[in-house]
Each structure stands twice: as structure tokens, then as C-alpha cells.
């Protein structure tokens, strides 16, 4: 169980995340929605401890995550795998090495510096790639792949960490509709089959409705909504998306999904 208690992060004058309190049970798939700059990215980075909170606490199974340092902090980061909008793979390394980087947290320094991976690590990496349908490009350089392929490699790297929580920061915002669906399906599959908790920042409302059992809405750093997708009524959306939603939000405008019929054509 992951618990955020009055979590706050300030950058100078602005408050990116403002007293966010939320409890997430194991195995949930939670969508986080809100305008750009609402604090969604900062929230996920706080959970992974890429940035430190100004105030408040993160707790997980009774452990104070905000107090972790050194080896324990690195182990926490490994347990909370991150997926980024820009994939953040190392361009000049091959796909397999990128995926094996998911084990860096428990490799001895000598092996890290010599870039020496064990056969077990190689086998785990190729299996993770295979699960995402990417095993055949394992030896290609990461930057030779398309965006959708790179994001699936990034998911394989996350799987390699054998995480308990997967934090996805706008994972489909740079992808075309077909790849967006592939990536979202992969995340949903990981959530369902492996029981990994998934927290996912989304631009597109209908994607959140389709894939997530629970949605958190953020506005100006605060959590303004937390509930089931059905409870996202027009007044609630107005609060999340602010004045720009005054005329009523047409979800098709923000959608990247395709109708089922055209997806079938594309896939075939």
C-alpha cells in the first residue's frame, strides 16, 4: 500500500504539488489527469524520489520512503519503475543493454564499470523484450527504433526491475494512435497479470476512462478529484481543466484512440 501524506513540492514561488494526500492499494491501475503544469509529472517524480519533497511524507508498507538514503533509496527507485514521455532510453546503447540497465541497482560496481552482464540477466532481458514483441530488435541501437518501439523497450526495462509499482509519465503523449493502444494494452496487461500497481499520467480523458478503474484529477498542484471514472461529471471536469472547459469538453478532441474498426484494418 502506497500512501502520500500532505506531499508538497515547491519550485521557488510556485507550488508544483500542494499537500497531496492519497492512498493507493496494491494492484490498482490509477489514471492521473489534469492540464499541463498541474503537477502530474512532479507527483510521479516525487514518488520515485527523482526529486525530494519540500514537505510531507511518502509511506509504503509502514516504511518512510522520504527518509531513504543511499542503497535503500536506490532499491526503492528500482521497486517503483518509471516510464517517460520521451522514453529516456540511452540512444547509443543497443536495446538489450538498455533493458539490462533495469538491473543496475543491484550490480556490483566492478561489473557495472566493465559492462558485464550475467547470462541470467541476459535471459531475463530477452524474455521481457519478447513479452512486448521486441525481441527481434534486441541488438539494434535504441535510437534506430520508432517512438512506439522505444516506449515498449522502456516498458521492458521497467519489467526488468521487477517493480511493485509502475509510474508512467504521459507514456503515450508522443505516440500515434496505434502505438498508443499497444503501449496502454501492455501496461494494462502488466497490471492485471503481474499484479503491479500502475500510476499513469494521461493527457487524454477517454484513455483514462477506458483503462483505469480509478482516476485522480489534479489542478494547480492539488488533488481535486479522486474516484471512479463514472463520477467524472461536467462540473468536476471543469474544476480539473479550468476555464478552458467552459464550453464543455469534447473528449474526441483530446483523444488519440481509433475506432475499433480502423484499428483492425491497421493491425491486419
Amino acid at each position: 500500500m502506497l500512501q502520500l501524506v500532505e506531499l508538497t513540492r515547491r519550485f521557488g514561488e510556485t507550488c508544483a504539488v500542494d499537500r497531496a494526500s492519497v492512498t493507493i492499494a496494491d494492484g490498482e491501475m490509477v489514471g492521473i489527469i489534469g492540464r499541463s503544469g498541474a503537477g502530474k509529472s512532479t507527483l510521479l517524480r516525487l514518488i520515485n524520489r527523482l526529486i525530494d519533497p519540500s514537505e510531507g511524507r511518502i509511506e509504503c508498507d509502514g516504511i518512510d520512503v522520504t527518509a531513504l538514503r543511499g542503497k535503500a533509496l536506490r532499491a526503492w527507485r528500482a521497486r517503483t519503475a518509471m516510464i517517460f514521455q520521451q522514453f529516456n532510453l540511452v540512444n547509443r546503447l543497443d536495446v538489450l543493454t538498455n533493458v539490462m540497465c533495469g538491473r543496475l541497482f543491484d550490480m556490483p560496481a566492478a561489473r557495472v564499470l566493465l559492462k558485464w552482464f550475467t547470462p541470467t540477466e541476459r535471459a531475463l532481458a530477452i524474455r521481457a523484450l519478447d513479452r512486448l514483441g521486441m525481441a527481434d530488435v534486441a541488438m539494434n541501437r535504441a535510437d534506430a527504433l520508432s517512438g512506439g518501439q522505444q516506449q515498449r523497450v522502456a516498458i521492458a526495462r521497467a519489467l526488468m526491475q521487477q517493480p511493485r509499482i509502475l509510474l508512467a509519465d504521459e507514456p503515450i503523449a508522443s505516440l500515434d494512435p496505434l502505438n498508443a493502444k499497444l503501449v496502454m494494452d501492455a501496461l494494462a496487461d502488466i497490471n492485471r497479470r503481474d499484479g503491479i500497481t500502475v500510476l499513469i499520467n494521461l493527457h487524454t480523458l477517454d484513455t483514462a476512462r477506458t483503462y483505469c478503474q480509478r482516476i485522480i484529477g489534479m489542478s494547480s498542484g492539488r488533488i481535486v478529484f479522486d474516484g471512479a471514472p463514472d463520477a467524472l461529471t461536467d462540473p468536476v471536469l471543469r474544476e480539473i481543466y479550468g476555464q478552458s472547459a467552459n464550453e464543455g469538453l469534447d473528449e474526441r478532441l483530446t483523444s488519440t484512440s481509433l475506432p475499433a474498426s480502423s484499428l483492425a484494418t491497421l493491425a491486419g
Partner: protein, 275 residues
């Protein structure tokens, strides 16, 4: 289209669009050329034209290679190879030192400003003096010969490469480092898997260029006794053996061209033709 164009009104609304750059540019222009002519007068530039005849005599002597059979080819070739070896050894020594120094001097590896101040001043200090000065110092300390030249190249090149490597490290894509940090990697993991792959192409191509440029520079080090072809060159200039001077120059040009070709080939093989 000029119908209805009210110039006065447009000028009133946007006066800046009608203003010239003013007299400052002209003043600068006059200053630059005035200073140039003053310097030519000061340094008696006319001598360039009155002594042109001597230059032609030397060029004529340079082109006459009739005595080529009597020249000491073994000594000249050995010295040429020594110069190339000095450049190679000195630069490789510098690369070995500059890689760790470059990482230490980069703000995204060690954020402490005070520490960075001292590493950067160290780099400045190393490359602040010319190789020739270092060569004089090392010849005094260790005697005549290529060791002094190798050390002179290594010292200066360490300063140059460390600075360039540090800047390359600072310019890397932060997203890739963030991706590796987020998996729980420590400093070793970030250096080896996020930073090094990004800066390695810069390091390789800069090191290869340094070998080439130092092979050119090292010809001069011989003049102060630090080994290599430079000494042979100065000996032959002193005895007016201009034909052999020309021969040595050709040797140097061929060597530099060979190193250039080899390093381009290596660069393509190691980094890849793309980017």
C-alpha cells in the same frame, strides 16, 4: 500597392523601423582600418616587398633536389617517426588523464561550485602555457630527447582535453541520465551507462584530432631539443640546406596527411558514419 500608404503615420507608430544603425558602426569601421594602417607603418611593412628577391632565391634552392642521393635519409625518417610517436604517446597519456578529470570537472557529475572552480583552474593552468615552454622546462629537468617532448604534449593536451570532455559531459541529454537514475543506478551506473555512451563519440573524435594536431606541433618541439624532426629541420635551416628543408617539409606534410586519413577511417569505424 502604395496607395493609401501614410509614411508619416507609420513612422510615428513604429519609429524604430525607420532608424538607421547610427554612426557607431562607421566609427568602428574607421577605427579598425586606421589601426591596421598605423601598424603597417609602425612595423615597416614595406620590407615585405623590398626583400621579396631573397624569398625567391630560397624557393629556388628548395626546388633543386639534385643532391637527394647524399642526404641522410635514415636519420630524417627515424626523426619523423619519432615525432609521430611523441605525438601519439603524449596524446594517449593526456587522454587517460583527461577522461576522469573531464567527468570530475562537469557540473552534472559534481555539482559543488568550489570543487569545480579548482578543477577548471587546473585545466586552465595546464594549457595556459605553450607546449614549447613546457618542453624547455622538461628538457632542463630530464635532458635532451623525446621524453621531454612527450611530457610537454601530455601536460598541455591534458588541460585541453579535460576542458573539452567536461563541456561534452555537461552538454549531454539529461533525459537519458534521468532514465538511468530512475532505475536505481548509482554513480557508477550513471557514468557508465548514461553519460559515457553519450560523450564517447566526442572523446574519440577529439582524441584522434589531437594526435593529428600534435604531430604538427611536435615538429617544433625538436627546435628546443625535445626530440623529433624539428631538430633536423633547424640544423638544415642554419646551414642553408634549403633542398633538405623542403624534403623535411614534404615528409611532415605526408605524415600529417597519413594520420588525417587514418584517424578519419578510425572515427568512421568507431563512431559510425551517422552523426
Amino acid at each position: 500597392m502604395s496607395g493609401g500608404l501614410d509614411i508619416a503615420a507609420e513612422r510615428a507608430r513604429h519609429p524604430e523601423a525607420f532608424r538607421g544603425k547610427g554612426w557607431l558602426g562607421w566609427l568602428l569601421f574607421a577605427g579598425v582600418f586606421g589601426y591596421l594602417f598605423y601598424l603597417m607603418w609602425l612595423f615597416d611593412f614595406g620590407r615585405v616587398f623590398t626583400s621579396l628577391a631573397n624569398v625567391w632565391v630560397i624557393v629556388g634552392l628548395m626546388l633543386d633536389w639534385s643532391g637527394i642521393a647524399d642526404w641522410d635519409h635514415a636519420e630524417l625518417w627515424r626523426s619523423m617517426l619519432e615525432t609521430v610517436a611523441m605525438a601519439y604517446l603524449g596524446t594517449m597519456l593526456a587522454v587517460v588523464l583527461a577522461v576522469p578529470l573531464g567527468f570530475l570537472g562537469a557540473s552534472n557529475v559534481i555539482p559543488q561550485r568550489v570543487f569545480r572552480f579548482f578543477t577548471r583552474r587546473l585545466f586552465d593552468g595546464l594549457r595556459g602555457l605553450d607546449q614549447l615552454i613546457w618542453a624547455l622546462v622538461f628538457v632542463r629537468a630530464m635532458g635532451l630527447g623525446p621524453i621531454a617532448g612527450i611530457l610537454a604534449i601530455a601536460v598541455v593536451e591534458t588541460g585541453v582535453l579535460a576542458k573539452l570532455f567536461a563541456e561534452a559531459v555537461e552538454n549531454i541529454d539529461r533525459g537519458q541520465v534521468e532514465g538511468i537514475t530512475a532505475v536505481g543506478a548509482g554513480l557508477a551506473g550513471r557514468l557508465r551507462f548514461a553519460m559515457l555512451p553519450q560523450v564517447l563519440p566526442v572523446m574519440i573524435s577529439q582524441a584522434l584530432y589531437s594526435i593529428e594536431s600534435n604531430a604538427r606541433e611536435a615538429t617544433i618541439l625538436g627546435l628546443v631539443g625535445a626530440g623529433g624532426i624539428g631538430l633536423r629541420l633547424s640544423e638544415r635551416i642554419q646551414i642553408n640546406a634549403w633542398d633538405q628543408v623542403a624534403y623535411v617539409i614534404v615528409l611532415i606534410l605526408i605524415s600529417v596527411a597519413l594520420i588525417d586519413t587514418t584517424s578519419r577511417y578510425l572515427r568512421l569505424r568507431l563512431i559510425g558514419a551517422v552523426n
